[in-house]
Amino acid sequence: MAVKKRKKDLNFFERIYIVEILKGMMLTLKHLFKPKFTRQYPEEKYVQPPSYRGRPVLVMDNGKERCVACGLCSRVCPALAIQVQAAETEDEKERYPELFEINMLRCIFCGFCEEVCPEEAIVMSKDYELVFTKYEDAIFGKDKLLVPVEQLKDRLEFIRAHR
């Protein structure tokens, strides 16, 4: 067997290591005096850009959901996380979701639901803190999903700009 030749042979100083170790320690020392960028989560929170995809939420406009229960989000969802049951309403839009549930254990935060929605009724929020202790808690109903439109302004602007 031929002896493998190294691509680059170490020179004498490299081989005694001491110089290299000192170099490494210098770097560490330099960083000690540089400004820190560690975030003190959870005391200090991250403020996401509008492009961030947190948990999907339903847009609440004038105290009601915009959603017309068309079921497109439910159909497109690759993880089958969304269940929608439509019912009739006296409102002009005729149809509303009697039941709207997202199983947050299934959701993969892909944002397809937001993309397909014809009513801009479901958008990706900035909420990423999802902790549950029971399976049932992971299924978010309308109570947890509805978010006033004012809080979702920047995301709505973002999706309009990038349509």
Partner: protein, 562 residues
């Protein structure tokens, strides 16, 4: 025979046929809205424009008769452009309602806009506004904005349902559909307009907003509402039937079904009063027990009686297989000929379209097996006397409700020593049962019904019972069924603990020393074909999707067939 060339291929035709008829008979698609094979030609939607050589302008295929040597192009540039323009006009005033419209997913306007439209709109003006949510009749809701004025609904009412109840009013872009003043759209076939309306202008109030069409699975079956046995599709989501729609069968129901069938013939399957699991009477209370206990109780109780102390009521609502097993059970195990069925005739409720007086799907099948409405002067009329005089001590009722038909029977039934009932839902008779077996409904089992014309037709399970698995047992599956797990609410629909009658009967019979060696309902059917001459050599595959017609002059003479 004269020949016409469509898109380069020659087709023979019968003189008088239109281009669209020749094309559709040969599987060439010419898009159309107003044309329907069973309705008169109206020619108003203009969607079926085709180019015919030597004709100066595009012609509509639905109103142009084919002529010998005619050369038709459906895909030429001129034809394609023509269709695009028609599509554009149709969409000008069509609202962007798809997200709330029940038709979405099975809408011809959606499909054709996708396939034959340009994909964008040049119309930026305000769309036309018309009334939405107009209740035309008890079952049909009308949305005037969505209507493309094809007039199919008007022609259907006049020509097929023979109830001239709809008409156009106004003209131009204000045209809309109305019933005559003070009248409702309420004929017995009204809901068929929902199927033939190419858009979502007419919707079924009973099904409105219940589900999107792509969420359901469809199973080919037969309506149990009357002796016609209309071919239907059963639409199921999460193990619950949400609607029935007619399935084309030229010789039985054509494209149609009646409103009674569509509205009333599935709700009992989902109902809360289903018998869920076997019950036996303990201290005058019906108590839920397991199958083994119920069967062994039936076995030991049945041994107390013999021969003509039994009476058996067969069921024209149950399949041929169920009734055959019951007949064999009576003859071989109980050793009695006391088996009859209760007729359910509603005199006068019959027409020349579909509806039959006989409100059961399988009485012809029962007669074919040799079961009739009376036997040895035993029938529903004489049953109470015979019970009261103690000549009949044990009664077995399968899928029927004798007390509902004849209320006076109530006292006699309580004089019985043993009453065994097989029922799908609670009824007036079930409460008196000593042993109550839960029967699967027509939507939960395999089997055949024989209609009044002698069509042997298959029913197939659309809803899973407790011991059925949608995928392992080959039931139709929607996307939700395929991917749902036990943790998903939308895949946890109720499953009733019920079985086909033939299965329960076989289990009892085998415990009493019989040889009822069946694994599937087809095994029972094959045995029937060996015993019933008219059905010889049939099997489920030969019956197929459109049924097999028994032709027998003897049966017509005996008034079993018409």
């Amino acid at each position: 025979m004269p020949k016409v060339t469509i898109d380069g291929i020659q087709y023979e035709f019968n003189p008088g046929e239109t281009i669209i008829e020749v094309a559709s008979r040969n599987g060439v698609e010419i898009p159309h809205y107003c044309w329907h094979p069973r309705l008169s030609v109206s020619g108003n939607c203009r969607m079926c424009l085709v180019e015919v050589e030597k004709m100066p302008k595009l012609v509509i295929a639905c109103a142009t008769q084919a002529m010998d040597g005619m050369v038709v192009h459906t895909k030429s540039e001129k034809a394609v452009k023509g269709r695009e323009h028609v599509m554009e006009f149709l969409l000008i005033n069509h609202p962007l309602d798809c997200p709330i419209c029940d038709e979405a997913g099975e809408c011809a306007l959606q499909d054709y806009a996708y396939r034959y439209g340009t994909g964008y709109s040049r119309f930026i003006e305000e769309k036309n506004h018309k009334p939405k949510r107009v209740k035309l009749g008890p079952y049909v809701m009308f949305d005037a904005e969505r209507c493309i004025s094809c007039s199919r609904c008007i022609r259907f009412s006049k020509e097929i349902a023979k109830a001239d109840q709809l008409t156009f009013v106004q003209r131009g872009d204000r045209v809309t559909i109305e019933t005559f003043p003070g009248k409702e759209f309420d004929n017995p076939y009204s809901l068929n307009v929902v199927d033939i309306c190419p858009v979502g202008a007419l919707t079924n109030i009973d099904f409105r907003f219940k589900a999107r069409v792509w969420e359901m699975s469809a199973t080919k079956s037969i309506c149990p509402g009357c002796a016609r046995g209309c071919n239907i599709d059963i639409w199921v989501r999460n193990n619950e039937i949400l609607r029935l729609t007619p399935r084309f069968n030229e010789k039985v129901n054509d494209y149609w079904m009646c409103d009674h069938g569509r509205i009333n013939c599935f709700k009992f399957v989902n109902a809360d009063d289903r018998i869920d699991g076997p019950f036996v009477k303990k201290e005058s209370q019906l108590v839920l027990v397991n199958w083994d206990e119920a069967v062994s109780r039936a076995v030991s109780e049945l041994k107390r009686f013999k021969g003509n102390e039994f009476a058996v009521i067969a069921s024209p609502f149950a399949t041929l297989e169920d009734n055959y097993a019951l007949l064999k059970f009576s003859k071989q195990i109980l050793k009695t000929n006391n088996i009859f069925f209760i007729p359910h005739i509603k005199p006068g409720d019959q027409d020349d379209i579909l509806i039959r007086e006989d409100k059961t799907p399988n009485s012809t099948g029962l007669r074919l097996l040799g079961i009739d409405v009376s036997k040895n002067d035993l029938s529903l009329e004489t049953l109470d006397e015979k019970i009261n005089s103690k000549s009949i001590k044990c009664l077995i009722v399968v899928e029927d409700d004798p007390i509902a038909v004849k209320p006076e029977l109530k006292n006699a039934i309580q004089n019985l020593d043993l009453l065994i009932v097989f029922a799908t839902n609670k009824n007036k008779t079930t409460q008196y049962a000593d042993i109550l077996f839960p029967a699967a409904t027509y939507a939960e089992k395999n089997g055949v019904f024989v209609n009044f014309q002698g069509f042997v037709q298959r029913i197939r399970p659309a809803v899973a019972t407790i011991d059925v698995d949608r995928s392992l047992d080959g039931l139709a599956q929607s996307r939700w069924d395929k991917f749902g797990t036990e943790f998903d609410k939308w895949a946890r629909g109720r499953k009733v603990n019920a079985r086909s009658d033939w299965k329960i009967i076989s289990q009892i019979a085998n415990a009493l020393g019989g040889k009822f060696d069946y694994d599937t309902s087809e095994d029972v059917f094959i045995e029937i074909t060996q015993n019933v001459k008219e059905l010889a050599n049939l099997d489920y595959e030969t019956i197929g999707e459109l049924g097999y017609q028994i032709k027998s002059s003897k049966l017509i003479e005996e008034k079993i067939l018409v």
